[in-house]
């Protein structure tokens, strides 16, 4: 009995100490940059953050991969230590998100273009090189296509059904789930661009949404968020195709190769000048109000946009980021250095 009282006392003390500890340090200002947002930008942001932390003056920023939309929501929720300082985005901020930011007092936003991202349409190294047009890809993937001026459920079962020049192989494409940024990019760069004029006019107002709708009859297989898994599946199945970020292609060149789109194979230069057709810019947004409040924020912007990182021989290119063309780089570098904000209206 007497022992028990002692035990209770010890437990009480531990609880008290831990409670005090947690809340004492919680009350302090945040000394770490917090970044949320796109999973596409995540690999690049993390590398920059790690290098930034290793320089020793500031703590390594914490980066959370929430997706572009989710990141925007968190980012625009307000000013203060409980809200992230930076959000990554695989597309430009939308007007709706701008309105949300303004409503919550996030008025001064710095836009930084990180670089370019290409999506590769890849297949196993065991199958011969391939070349597709965007329309062919759209026809292979869309839920509804136009045949002889009429909209029908996608009838194509073999590539050769779409175009006689294509191989007589069953269509089998591993697609990313609708939640992923890659899929978003694919929808806007391939599905909408490749959508035939006839189909667009037949879809009418809803053409943007309808063109992007993918077939669900088994020829397009959802393979999950995990791009590594798609790579493994492609390596195992020579008939299958799949699309994912350029960096995954680079990291797995021994197992897969990329198909040419409109005759262009993905390459650094091609993505940079958008001559490779499936390429897009990547962004991040920072809060000007947090500069000076969260230590290191300004320095981080500087480090991210430095030539060492983003430049044409920067370390980000090593992991698949396609650097900006020099004129565009100058704009973004200035924005980061001088904290140039964008117009929210």
């Amino acid at each position: 009995m007497f022992n028990k009282e002692i035990n209770m006392k010890i437990i009480k003390n531990i609880v008290a100490v831990i409670a005090i500890l947690s809340f004492a340090s919680y009350a302090q200002a945040r000394d770490q940059i917090k970044i949320v947002g796109s999973s596409t930008v995540y690999p690049y942001a993390t590398v920059v953050a790690e290098k930034f932390g290793k320089q020793g003056s500031f703590k390594t920023p914490v980066i959370e991969s929430t997706g572009t939309g989710g990141g925007m929501k968190l980012f625009c929720a307000g000013i203060g230590v409980n809200h992230p300082d930076i959000t990554n985005a695989s597309r430009a901020i939308k007007s709706k998100e701008k309105a949300l930011c303004e409503k919550n007092g996030v008025k001064d936003i710095i836009e930084v273009v990180v670089g370019n991202d290409g999506i590769t349409f890849s297949h196993s190294v065991k199958s011969p090189d391939a070349n597709f047009t965007k329309e062919q890809l759209w026809r292979a993937l869309a839920a509804k296509v136009d045949v002889n001026g009429k909209l029908v459920e996608n009838p194509y079962k073999k590539w050769s059904d779409i175009d006689a020049s294509l191989p007589s192989k069953k269509i089998e494409i591993l697609i990313a789930p609708p939640t992923s940024g890659t899929r978003d990019a694919w929808n806007s760069l391939v599905m909408n661009k490749g959508c035939s004029k006839e189909a667009k006019s037949l879809f009418g107002d809803k053409s943007k949404k309808e063109c992007a709708k993918m077939r669900e009859d088994g020829y397009a297989v959802e393979a999950g968020e995990n791009d590594t898994l798609i790579v493994q599946k492609l390596a195992a199945n020579p008939d299958a195709y799949g699309f994912f970020g350029y960096s995954y292609y680079l990291a797995n060149k021994d197992k897969i190769k990329a198909a040419a789109i409109n005759g262009v194979k993905p390459s650094l230069e091609g993505i940079q000048d958008y001559s490779y057709p499936i390429a897009r810019p990547l962004f991040f947004y920072a809060k000007k109000a947090h500069v000076g409040v969260v230590p290191g924020l300004k320095e981080f912007l500087d480090a991210f946009t430095s030539k060492k990182a983003m430049g044409s021989r920067g370390y980000l290119t090593d992991i698949g980021l396609v650097p900006l063309a020099s004129d565009k780089y100058k704009v973004t570098r200035t924005a980061a250095k001088d904290l140039v904000t964008i117009n929210l209206k």
């Binding site: 500890l21 914490v62 992230p84 680079l250 990291a251």
Partner: protein
């Protein structure tokens, strides 16, 4: 049917059933073995790290040091030039492109590794010393045999030039494998050869401690009250049903709760073990209360009667006798509850624990990842080195779960009284 036939039929039925049972058990065992084999075959190589021995020339003139050379001044010194100078000497390079390829044989941390070596051995200044430097992920994977080398160059991560250097180094026995202590001591990194689970381990540790501190006393008190003191009526029945229901609620719902209340309303810091611990303790509470109540119930009424009959009050009876006797069951229930919490990923994603955190957290309010989340994060990485790291983390996680469950079983068997 004769008696003999019926008898035979009975025995046959028994035999058949035994066989079905055996098949089921062996299927289960096979699945487990496949899982374990798969994880181990992928993950075991993560426990070693490829090192390249380089003769480093600690030339003090390259360090641009002002004043005396001591540990403090060395800490502030920039070793980049010194390091690059020494590394480039391992193989002749004819242009800067080749120089860059040489540097990429090494992990980006070479500068710090060379620096740390000197700080540990300050007497080596101005000497040429062989130092083992961590190889880059590509060389590491090549050395572990995970990259095939008989492919055309454009489909390889390692260029012909680098391959030449590698073969040359192998010949000179400069390439070595050693135990990968980085795996345990380092935080997350984008370079697989430098990435470790140290951060997520601490994150998980803080999370579980917070979860334990919150859920254990509350669960014990709740179950003691419900089991021993609460009147048996409709309200307590309703509470009991709800506890059972809560235990079955998918964990992600608790994540939403944490997001909605802890982060939005109470404004607790995101991505921290504090929030994760509170969220998981909400999830764990009903899962601990149920075994706690069961073990309280298992204490035979005769013990209560014995205490009451010598004049112990209800409170004394419960706290002097019933609770101590129920403790082993309670503890093992708690440990199993915590083990479940340890393996939980879904609620942590919602409260922002899925974050790239390099710094190892030193308190529950520092941002951090946790072990299962680390698995999730690394499984999505493009670099090949993370495949083995992912499996290694799974091995660690499984190890912790097995240890915790073993402790639970041990506690129960060792200390639980057998009531005849």
């Amino acid at each position: 049917m004769t008696k003999e036939q019926r008898l035979k039929k009975r025995y046959r039925a028994e035999k058949r059933f035994k066989m079905y049972g055996l098949i089921s058990v062996s299927l289960a065992v096979i699945f487990v073995l496949i899982l374990v084999q798969n994880i181990f075959s992928k993950g075991s190589s993560a426990f070693s790290r490829t090192m390249i021995e380089v003769a480093v020339n600690y030339d003090s003139s390259l360090l641009e040091l002002e004043g005396p050379i001591n540990q403090n001044s060395l800490k502030d010194a920039d070793f980049y030039d010194l390091a690059v100078e020494s590394l480039l000497k391992i193989y002749p390079a004819k242009d800067s492109k080749e120089e860059r390829q040489i540097l990429r044989l090494f992990s980006p941390d070479y500068e710090f590794e060379i620096k740390d070596f000197l700080i540990k051995n300050p007497n080596k200044i101005d000497q040429i010393v062989p130092v083992k430097i961590t190889a880059s992920d590509d060389i590491d994977q090549l050395n572990k045999g995970n990259f095939p080398r008989d492919l055309p160059e454009d489909r390889r991560r390692v260029s012909n030039y680098q391959l030449n250097i590698y073969d040359n180094l192998i010949e000179k026995e400069k390439i070595d494998k050693k135990f990968n202590n980085y795996l345990f001591t380092k935080g997350d990194s984008r370079d697989p050869e430098l990435a470790g689970i140290g951060g997520s381990l601490m994150g998980s540790f803080f999370t579980i401690i917070i979860c334990l501190i919150l859920s254990f006393p509350i669960a014990i008190m709740a179950s003691i009250y419900l089991e021993e003191f609460a009147p048996k009526n409709k309200i307590t029945d309703f509470i009991e049903i709800n506890i059972n229901n809560l235990a079955a609620v998918p964990s992600i719902v608790y994540g939403l709760l944490g997001l909605g209340i802890l982060l939005s309303v109470m404004e607790f810091p995101r991505s921290t073990p504090l929030v994760a611990g509170i969220t998981l303790s909400l999830m764990t509470l009903p899962r601990i209360i149920i075994p706690c109540r069961a073990s309280l119930k298992a204490v035979p009424p005769s013990i209560r009667e014995a205490a009451l009959s010598v004049g112990a009050s209800k409170f004394q009876t419960v706290f002097h006798h019933v609770v101590p006797l129920a403790m082993p069951g309670t503890l093992s229930g708690t440990i199993i509850g915590l083990a479940q919490a340890l393996g939980e990923t879904a609620p942590l994603i919602l409260i922002g624990m899925v974050a790239f955190v390099v710094d190892i957290p030193s308190s529950p309010v520092d941002p951090s990842a946790s072990l299962p989340v680390q698995v999730y994060l690394w499984s999505e990485q493009a670099e090949r080195g993370f495949v083995e790291k992912t499996s290694a983390t799974i091995m660690m996680l499984l190890g912790f779960l097995i240890v915790m469950n073993f402790i639970a079983v041990y506690l129960r068997q060792k200390f639980e009284k057998k009531w005849n």
